[in-house]
């Protein structure tokens, strides 16, 4: 198994805020090109990698999808050289004061900057001592006002910029591990498939705009019409402040999710395979909506049997999301082995009961 860590670090160090995924799409395309037969972009920017199977045409196909977009911010107003911002995706405003960011300026420059929390006396009465709302936070590039006004325009993107940090026990911490860690898992899967024979066609898809509208998963599932689909995404790890039923231990295996959003037959096959291969896994449950690309794929066209493979992420949607690299490797391996196990008539065997 190759070491996925260096690629994962470059994945989270490359920008790709929802709706503006091109930089990271290019990086993923480069990595996937030698691993698949062809790559292409959907009309809305999702990356498709096709690895053909050995079965007779027309071959069934499996779509494995991980969203590549990241939450971030956008410049909404410029005032005296400071930037006002609005969010793209679900950001917890409490992680912002003092955060290190990059302003992707219209001038083409990437400006390092800091998110400033103005002192209470500059804020409305009663709003300065608690959690300061995003509308009052400012981005400071340290540059003089005139220079800022020349370089930056309303609508310019602001992304998190703290560097990846390797923690003990094979844990990587940084922003945007939701969901670049899953892109890494797809990459592990494609690497595992090299030299292995599989009957089905495999569409590896890095989707756009999951954090905002599921645009990429809806449109790619429609375009590719896979026989079955598997979403890969993060779930909640146990850790400080997170110990409820939705949370699972980090580094102890892969999550295989069940619930109305997911097909029970695929769930069963995945869990049986994980047991057989001795890949540690845990049962995750989504009683209503999984909140992942599994939903749009499931309801595309006449409906697609869909599964969800996950791994626990600590501190999700903060700047220090943390993930066990082992769990990513396990998820990639499970996906690859599942693909290899797919026989030509698998689709006909899928039943609800």
């Amino acid at each position: 198994m190759t070491d996925i860590l260096p690629f994962l670090k470059s994945l989270i160090s490359t920008s790709g805020i929802s709706g503006h995924e091109t930089p990271v799409a290019k990086l993923i395309e480069q990595k996937w090109r030698p691993l698949v037969d062809e790559t292409s972009l959907s009309r809305v920017g999702s990356l498709h990698g096709l690895k053909r199977g050995s079965g007779k045409t027309p071959r069934p196909s499996v779509m494995i999808a991980a969203h590549m977009d990241a939450i971030g911010m956008m410049v909404s107003r410029i005032e005296a050289g400071f930037l006002h911002i609005t969010s793209v995706g679900g950001i917890d405003v409490r992680v912002l004061p003092g955060a290190q960011v990059t302003v992707h300026a219209s001038s083409g420059e990437e400006l390092p900057a800091v998110i400033a929390m103005p002192p209470a006396r500059l804020l409305p009465e009663g709003e300065g001592n608690g959690v300061v709302e995003m509308k009052h936070l400012l981005v400071d590039t340290g540059l003089p006002a005139r220079e800022v006004e020349r370089k930056v325009r309303v609508g310019d993107l602001v992304s998190f910029a703290n560097e990846p940090l390797e923690l003990a026990g094979d844990v990587l911490s940084g922003h945007t591990l939701d969901n670049r860690a899953s892109v890494a898992a797809l990459t592990v899967c494609l690497e595992e498939l090299q030299g292995k024979s599989h009957v089905w066609d495999v569409w590896a898809v890095a989707t756009v705009q999951e954090e905002t509208s599921f645009l990429g998963a809806y449109t790619s599932a429609f375009q590719l019409r896979p026989s079955i689909a598997i979403a890969v995404d993060g779930t909640f790890a146990k850790g400080p402040g997170a110990n409820g039923w939705q949370t699972h231990p980090m580094g102890k295996g892969v999550g295989i999710c069940m619930g109305p959003n997911l097909h029970p037959f695929l769930h069963k096959k995945l869990t049986e395979l994980a047991d057989k291969l001795e890949i540690p896994w845990f049962l995750d449950v989504a009683p209503r909506h999984s909140g992942t690309d599994a939903y749009p794929m499931q309801v595309t066209m006449e409906g697609i049997p869909t599964a969800l493979v996950e791994f626990p992420i600590r501190y999700m949607h903060t700047t220090v999301e943390s993930v066990s690299v082992k769990d990513i490797q396990r998820a990639g391996r499970l996906l690859a082995e599942f693909i290899v196990s797919l026989e030509a008539d698998f689709v006909e065997k899928i039943t609800w009961e």
Partner: protein, 349 residues
């Protein structure tokens, strides 16, 4: 003025990236000792960990001038090991708790990487996301099985960067003062006896400065520090009248702060030197806050004291911002002032 260029910037970078939480200043002390050894006649580390050095001048009637810059920074102290790589911590010095969630830290002498995480926003109930996270809900997370010791200190893991004419770094308060003091010692004028104190524990009560002043017994003192620039827009677009200082206007000379009414002779003297030498300066708006001058002024039989600060935005946070010009002008003003100090300065009130 003393040289100001890449060498000085590199020194500041090294100092800002070092971690020296109050009471554990060893990393900065080591840099200071290496830098100053060739330039001082007496160098020693005192009972609290201050670095004290003397460089004597030549000629008669030399004024004994103490220059002070604190080495310590605000940070964290590991207080309990909860197992599995999670540690409880206390804050050392005045850090606003709202800066902590989602930040990276280095722990202990080996700079073990860690993070301070927060509960995912998806799992919050009601208006939880509008409330501050209490310190006792936060942990330093070193990863699975990561090791630290109770008693280890930790600091923000942010790295120094230069952006145009600005620098963005942690602990500009007060490594920029330390760097200034190192340069002043290296280029000390001969008309005075220079007593320099790189002090400890300023952020938790000016403890190092107190004993340094008692040890030196100087004729006068200047505390070199870094002070907040709250020069941001006001929410309603009205004029910001409480900015403390502004970036780009030069060194901030103190007149009055929360602990000191600065010696009027020295305040006047510094502003006159600035005017005469065409060096920009600003007066820090009189108000709260303070520097080591609060301890120095009232040491022994009393010591005429003034403070000068390089302004920075976002005090005691993971990343502050200062302007290189403000630093350069601070160094220039202080150096020019030192060359003009004579006994006459302190002869009459």
């Amino acid at each position: 003025m003393p040289p100001f260029g890449n060498t000085q910037l590199k020194l500041l970078e090294k100092l800002c990236n070092a971690i020296a939480v109050s009471g554990d200043e060893g990393e900065v002390r080591k840099i200071v000792l290496e830098e100053i050894k060739p330039y001082a006649e007496e160098v020693r580390v005192d009972a609290l960990g201050n670095v004290l050095a003397i460089r004597r001048g030549r000629g008669a009637k030399r004024v004994r001038v103490m220059l002070d810059a604190h080495m310590d920074e605000v940070g964290f102290f590991i207080v309990a090991d909860e197992g599995e790589g999670l540690y409880r911590f206390e804050v050392v010095g005045g850090i606003d708790g709202r800066y902590l969630v989602g930040k990276q830290v280095f722990v202990g002498k080996d700079r073990t990487p860690g993070v301070i995480g927060g509960k995912p926003v998806h799992l919050m109930e009601g208006d939880e996301y509008t409330r501050k996270v209490p310190l006792d809900a936060l942990r330093i997370d070193l990863g699975l099985g990561g090791k630290a010791k109770v008693g280890d200190r930790a600091g923000f893991a942010t790295r120094f960067r230069r952006v145009g004419q600005s620098i963005i770094a942690k602990s500009i308060d007060n490594r920029i003062g330390v760097a200034t003091l190192i340069e002043l010692l290296k280029h000390a004028p001969a008309n005075i006896d220079l007593c320099v104190a790189f002090t400890v524990q300023e952020e938790i009560g000016l403890r190092g400065a107190k004993v340094a002043a008692q040890s030196f017994n100087p004729d006068m003192a200047i505390a070199i520090d870094s002070t907040p620039a709250n020069d941001l827009p006001v929410h309603d677009g009205s004029e910001n009248t409480a900015y403390n200082t502004k970036l780009g206007l030069g060194p901030a000379i103190y007149i009055a702060d929360g602990s000191t009414l600065h010696d009027p002779r020295l305040v006047r003297f510094l502003s006159q030197v600035g005017d005469a030498e065409n060096i920009p300066y600003q007066f820090r708006q009189p108000g709260g806050g303070g520097t080591d001058s609060g301890a120095i002024q009232r040491a022994l039989t009393g010591i005429p004291t003034v403070s000068v600060s390089v302004p920075h935005r976002y005090t005691h946070s993971p990343l502050s911002i200062s302007r290189l010009d403000d630093w350069k002008h601070t160094l220039a003003l202080l150096h020019a002032a030192l060359t003009k100090i004579t006994p006459a300065l302190l002869a009459a009130r």
